[in-house]
Symmetry: C2
Subunit: 270 residues, 2 copies
């Protein structure tokens, strides 16, 4: 009798996993957003979802689900909801209410405002509808709703946006302004990626320990991306700090078998 | 052996039920909204909830729960969420983005914008957290989340606000403008009260038939209030139509024992 073949290990280049999963999430969301009359109500949602800058929080959610042994479809609604929340935040942040640099607006500000509200509500609707028959996953989904609402709310994004405002208004030293910006990154990118990874793990059936490990991993991923963004805008994001965050992130993944972390570990290099 | 005493029937004046339930919902919500640092993030939520004009959708939710035999606390989270959604809608509608008549703003527009988003998210968090141990109510709560997100989203409030804009911009005849306004009332007040009543019935353990009856009753209640509001603003809300809506509403309640509808029937006269 021949020995069983060793399981094939699929190697993929770092960005391709992220890109392909992301495309899948976007396609799933496009299908979920109804296109019907009145078009003026439904069309802006499609437009504003694709107008937002890319984010890896939704695909990290899928990767975390897979790393704990879950199936991609189990985390798809949560990933779509995260994408909607991200797009709603971006839309509202860029309404012509503040003195931020202006972006192009296809729709009037009141339509963008209301569509943003609609996207938040629709994200929660998608989540609540993702009960799978016979899977008894209601309690997991309710837990994910709590996670996402907290990350979006005054403990996360809202608090972070306030830090950003303080940073922008800050008349003190440069280092003081950078401190506010880092706090904003912790509360926005950090918190959102932590939430995405934790939710993916919950939905994939991960243990409490795995959920918390992946939450910390997600936090580091979000921090890395925020810091790189600061650096791009020449705002003194230090590359040493980023390297340190990468090491901390990889350390969290040590509990998983090395062939399993192929996909999820690529997020520290996106 | 003495015959059992007949159950005491409590009579209360129409408004007192609404007022006392409303006070209870507001107290419950005040307790649920955290007050902690940074105050600038949490304080606006308290303020903006009480700044919104009164609405009966939350207390109708409680009344519907009670009329099907449920306990008040079973619908309290949903009622609080409805109050948050109403306040968020009002806050966003009155941001200085449009040429609507200006209202007083205690906070800057970006704080009000973000707090509104926070209130929507917090409403869903409250709902998701309202699982009661041993009551196996997760599926009911997920259903309520779907109901509320739809009523808030592009099938309800968002669509209605669009009708309002069309009505305001309408350069045609008066009757054309009133038609848009009525459509807006259907989608905002009508839909929100229908949703509130249906959710209350779901949470109180009502049958599918009772849920649909109360949904229709709620719709009429919302329509009545919207029409009276139009009339107050001299916008030709016709009193005959209101009377007709009252009759339709009361007809829906005929299936319930008359002593049970004491409280809920008062909503057509608020």
């Amino acid at each position: 009798r021949l020995p069983a073949k060793p399981a094939m290990v699929k190697f993929q280049p770092a960005e391709s996993y992220w890109a392909s999963v992301n495309a899948e999430i976007e396609a799933s969301l496009r299908q979920a957003i109804p296109v019907k009359e009145p078009l003026v109500v439904f069309e802006p949602m499609h437009h504003l979802v694709s107008a937002a800058p890319p984010t890896t929080a939704p695909s990290l959610c899928i990767a975390a689900c897979e790393v704990v042994g879950g199936r991609r479809d189990q985390a798809m609604a949560a990933a779509s909801a995260l994408l909607l929340m991200h797009a709603a935040t971006y839309t509202h942040e860029n309404l012509p209410l503040t003195d931020r640099p202006k972006i192009d607006h296809v729709f009037g500000p009141h339509i963008e405002l209301q569509t943003g509200d609609g996207m938040i509500a629709f994200g929660f609707e998608l989540l609540a509808k993702s009960i799978q028959p016979g899977q008894n996953n209601s309690d997991r989904i309710l837990r994910v709703i709590i996670e996402i609402s907290r990350a979006m709310g005054s403990e996360g994004v809202i608090d972070g946006q306030y830090c950003k405002i303080l940073g922008t208004q800050s008349v003190g030293s440069d280092s003081c302004r950078v401190d506010w910006m880092k706090q904003a990154i912790e509360k926005i990118e950090g918190r959102l990626h932590a939430c995405g990874a934790a939710c993916g793990a919950m939905l994939g059936g991960g243990s409490e320990e795995e959920i918390e490990i992946l939450r910390r991993y997600g936090f580091y991923v979000g921090m890395i991306q925020g810091m790189l963004e600061l650096d791009k805008r020449k705002e003194k994001g230090s590359m040493e700090e980023v390297e340190e965050l990468r090491n901390l992130a990889l350390k969290e993944l040590e509990v998983f078998e090395s062939r399993k972390i192929e996909a999820i570990s690529c997020f520290i290099n996106v």
